[in-house]
Symmetry: C2
Subunit: 732 residues, 2 copies
């Protein structure tokens, strides 16, 4: 891209590195016609173009865009074309911009397909399905003129208090790595060139945001090198291997150095050690937050640029890069390097082609996407307990109670655009049960954190009039148009209706006491009781579980979530989800990830580890026998048989404990998983390939190497190697 | 020591590195006569001597020694002489042993002076007093034949859940460093040679045990290099600078490498970077715990020896060092190096002198030690709130209620020997109030975590019959002779009576709900209410504080604790303690140390930071005005005036926020403190010297260097630099 770069003025180069204008301010609708705003014109004039534009199609309470004033799907292509045309026309070199949008679980734009949140995706353990769906999303985005999708997936769920827990695939880096790899490859396509059916992906966040102290959003992660590379960087490394277009640098610091100013991370690890090439984008306003580590904006910008940030996201710091240059804080080569990376991404997307790549986008398949999302939601349903009450017979009279029984918004998760009205493809548990013909009595009982007058009486009455109580509790990341937002869109004001999502970190993670009252009221009536948690974080469910005869955990399953849960509850499908995270047994009982290092303490004197619900937990309506047949350094063979009477999908996980001389081992790690689908009596042999990803240890450059030692493997759900585990000697 | 070393066989060398026999098993009393046991004889024969003997005089539930079967103070010298004489007589080279004892807050032996726990010491902010007291303890120990005192002090209180919180001086490394330095210098004396009025000190634990995840004892500390050096190693560095004789390696790992096998730490940091010379002792059974990172004991021993562990503490791993040598896992030079260090310490203590150094020990001064301990306890009392009810007039009729109102054992802390019977110098709050002539009604109301039948009624009756309620709640590290213990002496079985101490980690740290019921019962009567917390960890006191008109926090103040609290409550002394740790506002609200790095999040949506009680909090009966007069790179001058009407001790803290380019600053750090004593109206100018300890940043070798930037300093209690803070430019 040298030839393009050479034609650019300093102002234009700086323009390529800035992403300042809120995209939703770039267009307005006048008499039904889309027109570019003065804000866009000023921004384009200021920089002689715009390097990338974030959020043109974003719609949500923060942007203030909704069906009344936002860009509907059918006008998306028109909108992007209009803005692109304007920007190109005003740039001396005709440089196109990049349209960047949030797509953490589908596009956060009007009419975008909404998928289950990542935490639900993690519960399905299904790389192939995720890839199919990701491809559909990519088609949809590109058809709407979008070039770059911001995708959550690198954050590891290490603290249940963190409000963004729902954006994590898992606490386990192996699961997260596989899902990130599948998603990135499906969204970008396999080639170096990103064609018109695919989009560039910027994965977020780099790095260790899930390790912020206290589970507080963006707080420091004072991590050591092994912890960083073993737990927090594998998913990023998988993305690099998949050729991901970019990374978003996280807000947090790693051991004192903010990620956005962290040369060791952004250049040392990513580029020098991993050999990756692409762009690094800062998180929203993250560079201006460097002012606590720099005397002024120019210094902040210089820190970031020299560390390896190529694109700023709403900062003053990158606007004044010219001052930084004048003051000798950076060199022109620093600007050129970043600029060249941005231009290279545009080239990779075909934006410099004679016939621009996105002139004829390939539309996505709406029906297919919906069907896949529904399937993914269904696979994500985790049955934690079943004393025989499930599945429900078709005519059972049900009391469907609790605040999440009939609240679509609570199923969707954060970063979701407003639903269309009407919304015929969505379902709540109540609506889905009714649609299947169950006689249903309903009472909310309470709000998530507030009592409702007469709520408990209504619950008792509903349960009294029914044969089985279905009690749906949990949390919600609903955003309100009346909420207050921080400058980066995180929720700011307290809001009792929201218990999850960015900006909603909690010190207590058990199912709220107000909701437990609802469960108690239902229980008191004496009917069989099915508990369902629809939530966005690893809630402590000990108390709720103790009240139920069956318990289901469903991380925000999306708009088809009601149908998905009812597929399982009704027995139409046997449940097959497994927890991708360990649920703490009670308040204050964390961290509890299954792959913490071994400890010798007895745990908390006032809590029982037996109350923790371990990663991998998930029951079926059938029964399965699994065993390891053989293990070597290249593969593990296992056998699984459906020994029950119900045809069912079933995920076979492979767990391992790796021993290396001198290093305290982690208790257990996922090192493989294979979903199967077996009829009663059917059996299957499974091969888990082993390689450097499963056996390697991290060297001082963050690269994997084979260190001598051994690996114990097993396929049962045990936390510690059971007696039938197989030991594999590892030699380089 | 080469000449001694050369005379030793391999067996004898290995013997010098092992500390296996429980000291309390070395002697028995037969017909009133002390005799060496067969266990001692076997151990001596096995190794041709014994390098060091732990716990000859230890008395507590774990050792099973008490006044009925242990070594009383008046026979200590006889006991050590007897054992020493036996060991020397059986060693071919006449090598003496080292007598090692626990002295985390005074000797854990019968009749030993018991001081306030470290957390209370931290609340006094009084290096000079600590030094005076430490000197007395050292005299006492040496007079009892003890050579080596194991001293807590390196652990930083970063998680309120940790049961050993009471053994920490502070969450702040500056406070801990100063107290460790004062203590070590006072106990060892200033010279290289440790004379007969002093003892060698082994400080513990190295390193970062206070950062174990989840506050779980000995769990991993996945820390980065800056966090380790800035927070967890300064106290260790201070000890090195004070010439400390040794370090105890901690149980935990640091980023995956167990401290006992951590060459970077034990050799790299301590010896190569800091230039320190001395011995490293492993924690009890810590080397055998390396078996999770080593295939057998010989490998575990080799890991530890090569990392830099010189003395094992009850492990098989060091018994088989000969096998490790045979198998080529270590070299003779590794054994010789460790052995030479042990011999050097004996030489430093004068044990090779013609006239052995400990033949004429200098006795301690009982009265002085008691007086100093009482003063220290008094200075440690922190007044958190006072709506005018304190101090109490002398004739006030008091209801003294709550489980810690009259329970001496709850005042003492962990690692305490049984008290003498009778115990005339001890006092509880109840007994001290009675002794001062207050009319007192008493009711325990509850146990620490259990209701008592009729307890609340008794509380109400007592308060009803009184003018003021004094409600004493909190926690306890009492150990019972019936308790179960782990192999290293940590409490193993659950015990409702114990809520603190080694092995008693808790997931919840608020004052127990059962105790809050007592406070509510007292409150309901409608009398003015003084709340007192006697506890061993940073309890969340929000709920209790809301019920009280005045609130005092007293970390386990020791046997004179009752008197100390009553000194303050009665107005005999104005309170002057300050919290050395931040109390979390509620469950799940942690970490909250005042020196965490700056965060941009709003904190927990379900908790208010305003409920946290900040390090440095502490009220007086007088009022004081403080201001910074001037600041430079070499000193800060401040002025303090007693503007109230009560003569009082007062601690002036100096807080700072250090800015260095590219590093996220810590919110606030203690960088100086000076206790003053001022009459009403009196004022004083204070000089805080600044130097590399206060201004430096840690380089890649863990050494301090002056990095350009600036430092904001202030003397008010604000968490953030107030408007009258002074900025100091820092240049190398």
């Amino acid at each position: 891209m040298k030839h393009v770069l050479e034609r650019l003025t300093l102002k234009e180069k700086i323009g390529q590195l800035n992403q300042r204008l809120p995209g939703w301010d770039a267009l307005e609708v006048t008499h039904g016609k889309l027109v570019v705003t003065d804000a866009l014109k000023q921004e384009v004039e200021r920089f002689g173009g715009i390097g990338s534009l974030y959020g043109l199609q974003r719609a949500d309470p923060w942007s203030g865009r909704h069906w009344g004033n936002g860009i509907p799907p059918e006008r998306s292509a028109e909108a992007t074309a209009l803005v692109q045309s304007y920007i190109r026309s005003q740039s001396s070199s005709g440089l196109p911009t990049l349209f960047v949008e949030e797509a953490p679980h589908g596009l956060q734009g009007l009419g975008g397909h909404v998928l289950p949140v990542n935490l639900a995706v993690g519960a399905a353990w299904d790389d192939d399905l995720v890839a199919e769906l990701a491809a559909q999303v990519a088609h949809e985005l590109r058809a709407r003129g979008i070039h770059v999708a911001l995708l959550s997936g690198l954050d590891m769920l290490r603290d249940p208090r963190w409000g963004r827990a729902e954006e994590c695939f898992s606490e386990d880096p192996y699961i997260a790595s596989h899902l990130v790899r599948s998603t990135v490859m499906a969204m970008q396509g396999a080639g170096e060139r990103i064609d018109t059916e695919h989009v560039a992906v910027v994965v977020k966040h780099l790095a260790a945001q899930g390790a912020g102290i206290g589970g507080r959003n963006g707080s420091g992660a004072p991590l050591g090198w092994r912890e960083l590379h073993e737990i927090h960087l594998p998913a990023a490394r998988a993305a690099a291997e998949a050729g991901v277009a970019g990374y978003m640098a996280a807000y947090n610091d790693v051991d004192g150095i903010a990620c956005s100013a962290n040369r060791d991370l952004l250049t040392g690890v990513l580029r020098e050690n991993w050999g990756w090439e692409g762009i690094v984008m800062a998180d929203c306003t993250a560079l201006d937050r460097l002012l606590d580590a720099a005397p002024d904006h120019a210094h902040a910008g210089a820190l970031a640029l020299r560390a390896g940030v190529d694109i700023s996201f709403w900062d003053e710091a990158y606007v004044v890069l010219d001052q930084a240059l004048d003051r000798g804080l950076i060199e022109m080569a620093d600007i050129d390097r970043a600029c060249e990376r941005v231009l290279s991404l545009k080239q990779r997307l075909g934006l410099f082609d004679e016939s621009p790549a996105d002139s004829e986008p390939a539309p996505g398949d709406d029906v297919l996407a919906h069907r896949l999302a529904h399937r993914l939601a269904r696979e994500s349903i985790v049955l934690l307990r079943n004393d025989g009450v499930l599945p429900l017979a078709g005519s059972t009279r049900l009391a469907v109670v609790g605040p999440n029984a009939d609240d679509l918004l609570s199923q969707l998760g954060d970063y979701t655009a407003p639903r269309p009205v009407p919304d015929p493809t969505s379902s709540t548990i109540r609506s889905a049960l009714i649609a299947r013909g169950f006689p249903v009595e309903h009472a909310a009982g309470s709000k998530l954190r507030e009592r409702i007058d007469g709520g408990l009486d209504a619950v008792r009455a509903a349960v009294g009039a029914s044969e089985v109580a279905v009690v749906v509790l949990g949390s919600s990341s609903r955003r309100l148009y009346e909420s207050e937002f921080a400058e980066n869109g995180a929720v700011q004001g307290a809001d009792l209706g929201m218990t999850n999502g960015e900006g909603v970190d909690l010190s207590r993670v058990a199912i709220d006491p107000v909701q437990i009252e609802v469960a108690r009221a239902a229980r008191e009536v004496g009917k069989p009781m099915v508990g369902i948690v629809i939530g966005g974080r690893p809630h402590a469910v000990t108390e709720f579980a103790g009240l139920c005869d069956a318990l289901i955990f469903s991380a925000f399953p999306g708009p088809t979530g009601g149908d998905a849960v009812v597929d399982v509850v009704s027995g139409a499908e046997s449940p097959s989800g497994r927890l991708p995270v360990t649920l703490p047994g009670g308040e204050g009982v964390w961290p509890v990830a299954h792959d913490e290092r071994r400890e010798t303490s007895r745990g908390y004197a006032d809590a029982s580890y037996a109350d923790n619900v371990l990663l991998g937990t998930g029951l079926s309506y059938s029964t399965f026998e699994v065993s390891v047949l053989s293990g070597s350094q290249t593969e593990v063979r296992a056998r699984v048989q459906n020994t029950g009477s119900v045809e069912s999908r079933y995920v076979v996980p492979l767990y391992g404990r790796r021993h290396v001389l001198g290093v305290r081992p982690r208790v257990r790690q996922v090192i493989g998983y294979v979903p199967v689908h077996l009829a009663p009596g059917e059996e299957q042999e499974i091969v888990f390939p082993l390689g450097i990803d499963e056996l390697g240890t991290v060297d001082s450059h963050g690269l994997l190497e084979l260190t001598p030692g051994h690996l114990d493997v097993w396929v049962s759900g045990d936390l510690h190697p059971p007696t039938d585990s197989v030991r594999i000697e590892v030699a380089p």
